[in-house]
Symmetry: C2
């Protein structure tokens, strides 16, 4: 039995959840970002962004560091090595599942 749809049904929600997917994909694109820039990019509330960053940090997908910019605290967020691998793999997996679904479609209509 083709496993494409089972794999879709069991996608890991850690990265699949929209807010976290946006954060991880933004960090994949920017290398690192401070909290306010990430908030503007994703459009998330600061509360939600903060919760999701903590969740992703606990899963060792990203790391944060605090610094001061003009005497104000500033948090810089970047992907860890395992985070980089995970978000790239996530997108590759999704692309490959979509292709498999299309092939399944062709096979079943032949």
């Amino acid at each position: 039995m083709d496993e494409t749809f089972q794999q879709l049904a069991s996608l890991d929600r850690l990265l699949h959840e929209p807010a976290r997917l946006a954060i991880m994909t933004a960090l994949m694109a920017c290398e690192n970002a401070d909290f306010l820039f990430l908030q503007r990019l994703t459009g998330l509330s600061s509360g939600n962004l903060s919760v999701q960053i903590t969740r992703l940090e606990e899963a060792e997908m990203l790391s944060t560091s605090k610094r001061f910019v003009e005497k104000r605290p500033n948090t810089v967020i970047s992907l860890t090595e395992s985070g980089k691998t995970a978000i790239r793999s996530y997108w590759e997996k999704l692309e490959s599942l979509k292709k498999s679904a299309e092939e399944f479609s062709r096979d079943s209509s032949e």
Copy 2:
């Protein structure tokens, strides 16, 4: 400001949720399927599959019809026209958001 990541963060969970994504993508591939075949394809429990089908039917993404096969009840599930459009658009949107993220990445590294 680039809207790619805002669009990722606000993806519609109706189709994005893994179990429903698997069901909708399977139906996109097979045109129609009976309950047991869909259960084997997606690997979902019959309870979960049943809940998600109801949810998708309420959202007019799919329709179900009952028939008898060898005197046993059999439910056939297929996408509605709006369901077909929605799942194709979902995959196109995801692909286009991924491309935009990659372009954002190139632009910001120049």
